[in-house]
Amino acid sequence: MANYTMHMLVCSGTGCKSAESDLITANLEKYVAEANMTDEVQVLKTGCFGFCEKGPVVKILPDNTFYVQVTPDDAEEIVNEHIIKGRKVERLLFVDPKTEKMVSDSKKMDFYKKQLRIALRNCGLIDPDNIDEYIARDGYHALGMALTEMTPQDVIKVVKDSGLRGRGGGGFPTGLKWEIASKNDADQKYVVCNADEGDPGAFMDRSILEGDPHSVVEAMAICGYSMGATIGKVYIRAEYPLAIKRLEKAIEDAREYGLLGKDIMGTGFDFDIELTFGAGAFVCGEETALIHSMEGERGEPTTKPPFPAESGYWGKPTNVNNVETFANVPVILLKGADWFSSIGSEKSKGTKVFALAGKINNVGLIEVPMGTTLREVIYDIGGGIKDGKKFKAVQTGGPSGGCLTVDDLDTPIDYENLIAKGSMMGSGGMIVMDEDDCMPAVAKFYLEFTEEESCGKCTPCRVGTKRLSELLELITDGKGKMEHLDELKRLSRVIKDTALCGLGQTAPNPVLSTMEAFWDEYIAHIKDGRCPAGQCTNLLQYIISEAKCVGCTACVRVCPTNAITGTVKKPHVIDQAKCIKCGACYDKCKFEAISKQ
């Protein structure tokens, strides 16, 4: 009988796995066995810790030692030093970039200090493949409570009172959605979990499914009970193989335990869950498109009404929530609506998971109470901007969102505030940009994305987003004219107003918000033929300073197009007609003689 006194948790999310975390686990197990400590030290794989910037992560409990950027070769040292000799492996500890001090205890890291993990409560703490560990964390207790002590109306009331809103983007009150679906009578109803996370750089839902799949399974059953549905469907993108595997295991184990299937916990309630795989179309995150895709039709949205709650999957009342929304539900039932609604801002309750990405020090997955300011997220949790550069903007809400700027840093993040700022909560992607990012180019990037991901059904989205991205192309190519800005505005206005679904209606947001906040940059591209961030290659010239060039010829040797000429020890010159602006000479020059203009 093992009496574990130490647990070694190895992150087994998709990110850390791709950095060989499975081999780390195997090596740790090997050395623990060699040390004859298998009864005392448990090595196990968990879901994402969120601190992806420094993955793979190994966390040792109960002392909370947090090893970062661990390699499989480090396993031996960790076991020998930490376990056998009782000394921490200092070189693997996280170093706070601000204080430059080692931080051993993860709870004391800035990254974790301001976080509040509700949806992610079990991620990085339990073995997602082990249903017992979920049960040990009060798993399925909310379902048991709902089935034995509450009426469906009671459940809906708790969810309504908690103030939980859809975490997939729209922010529709979850309890209200459940209530509408519950009131539409039908011989069959469906609970659908939207796991078609498609925003570039977003991985909130994936991490929850990988780290705590049972929370979603349990919540779907609770939802089914509240609205009178016996079938749950998870629409999950096929590009999430690990999440699929963990979810399938979770469903299977729940069935084995009788927590899914017929007569759950002897209450007479039947509920089961099936998976449907999506092919990775962004638009299939829109609920009507998702439903059509599940039915085997082309994944494209249809006009609402009718809403899925009236006529959804196969024309039956259907409730669609996303993964993160569901993950909040069991704990809301267990701890109560008051507890949940005490967290967050006035109209946005609870927490929100964000995927921090871009030019930020701590890239990763975080969960903060609603109402936390952008400054706290970016500077405290995110550790500030990479390489000490200046913060310029943050794109929230993915391609449907807008750019927030320095002026918005102290804005508390919630649904209303983000919309007021021309952005949106979206599913929680947060892409941070620094002074080197060109905002018209950023807008172009997002428009190219929506243009490709548009289903092509309605005119404004099919043709309109194409025209927007063509205009942005002209501007970033230095061929823009002032009237193009009027055209951008008109097209954006009309697309927002006339597109069929959320994808099209929000597609112009990156254009409008960058024009609003960075008008000068657009003007600079058009009037001065200049890209202030030095990103738009067509507007860029590499110039060799005659004064600084020593004629070392290093640049000549790296230039792929032989655009640089000059004799040794004499200043060189770049032939602008031949230069392809690859920047190789700029990187190579040791004398700072080459500048971008």
């Binding site: 249809t302 009404p305 092509g456 043709v463 063509e470 002209l474 055209e487 107003d497």
Partner: protein
Amino acid sequence: MSDIKVVIDNKEVLVPSGSTILDATKKAGVHVPTLCHLDLHDTKMVNQAASCRVCVVEVDGRRNLAPSCATPATNGMVVRTNSMRVLEARKTVLELLISDHPKDCLSCAKAGECELQDLAERCGLRQIGITGDAQSTYKKDITRSLIRDMDKCIMCRRCETMCNTVQEVGALSGINRGFNAVISPAFELPMGETVCTHCGQCVAVCPTGALTENDATWEVVQALADPEKVVVVQTAPAVRVAIGEEFGREPGSIVTGQMVTALRQLGFDHVFDTDFAADLTILEEGTELLGRLEAFLGGDAKALPILTSCCPAWVNFIESQFPELIDIPSTAKSPQQMFGAIAKTYFAEKLNIPREKMVVVSVMPCLAKKYEATRKEFSVDGNPDIDIVISTRELGQLIKHANIELTALEETEFDNPLGMSTGAGVIFGTTGGVIEAAVRTAYEVYTKKPLPKIDFEELRGFEGVRVAAVDVDGLMLNIGIAHGLGNARALLTEVRDGNPRNLHAIEVMACPGGCIGGAGQPYHHGNSDIIKKRQAAIYQIDKDMPIRKSHENPAITEIYEAYLGKPMGELSHKLLHTHYHIKDKV
């Protein structure tokens, strides 16, 4: 349902609950332009894709504009259809559409009939204020019947709705994403390699030039100009009640005589009538029906039901969709093909010319007939029984080319002998007509008594699926009728699954309304009343005919006596009957 109150441009109207905003605007006398929307009430065809966004309107309290065609009106709703916001949106959407549309209107097959063109004109579009110039381009797909030029597709989805929801053929659906999204058969196969039945109903509803007939008018002109050729023309029953529309006549105008004159003026050597061949069909099919009825009554339960086989799209449908029922249709060729077979044998012999010297042209309300004429079994040593098939619309073009004003022409008669026909032949043009014609003859042949009443009202109508029992002197014949292939599928599925209604004979026509609603007819632009008026005209012609039963057609009697022998006889079998092939297609 109770009425609800809606305010449209400050005008209050009451509409039944369940109405769309568009319905309410019509009630208010406000004409909101639409493009993708199409509502053919009588044929289940309601295209509510709401994809074009041309019909958007402003609704008080709503964040964005609402597509009026697909947004339910609610009580107390306040709608504005002509605010600056709406006008700008509509104009911009139209500009966007046109920015990705070829500008070859002058040479477009749809010129003058194009709904996008009409809309641009109506909105007074004078310039396209859109800078981007990328065009989505696709490979042209040409079948015997139609041409798909998807560069002109505006993604209205009408063809898809027609093909999938009404016809239930399922050959077309949306593919690709974003700017490259388009309607296509599965795997982007050519239409000819799919389950497409060539019914052409997609062409009938396409608002632009993306789907058009495969035009054969120039081939006709060339044949007529060739002094070596004897050019014979036949015109289908439904053509004479629709061709007038091409010349500004009211829908339902009967212009048979003027059409015959025009054909003669065009230079056809012999102007004949498919109605003659329809009568011939009745003799063959009727005889087959009676034979199979006899076997059925004798205990062979599988001898019935018999299915009509006049409609080539229908034949395609059963060949690809119901292989297990392939032995049920009558083996009688369609009237078009019977005509071709007789023209190139009997009539060619009469003229004493080889079949190669004769060019047989069909004028059909149908696009599938273009395909049918090319089926291998309908040719002799590579020489087809029917050389060229043109649609009603194409005939209109031909007449216009030749500077002939149809409506001003004298009326003349068809030539003989293949121009003589009966009322039974003409009703082939409408749903219910073929089976009524067959019953008229079968009754008298079976009972050897004259019909007490020629009109079988119980077989007429516009319902998609109709079932009626006909009293044949005490023997009750259960007749099933379907028009539109979706309805045919329902009826066929019923037959396949045990034929619970014990149907003995079934008529199917692929197009809504029958041939009068064929894909080669003048465009109805969503007005299904036009099809009903053509139907009334067909029955009017029948009523006015001196002879109304096929077996009483003297030309038919003569051809059996002089040439064919008897119905289902050896020569008839060779010339007038065919067989079917199971098609394994996607």
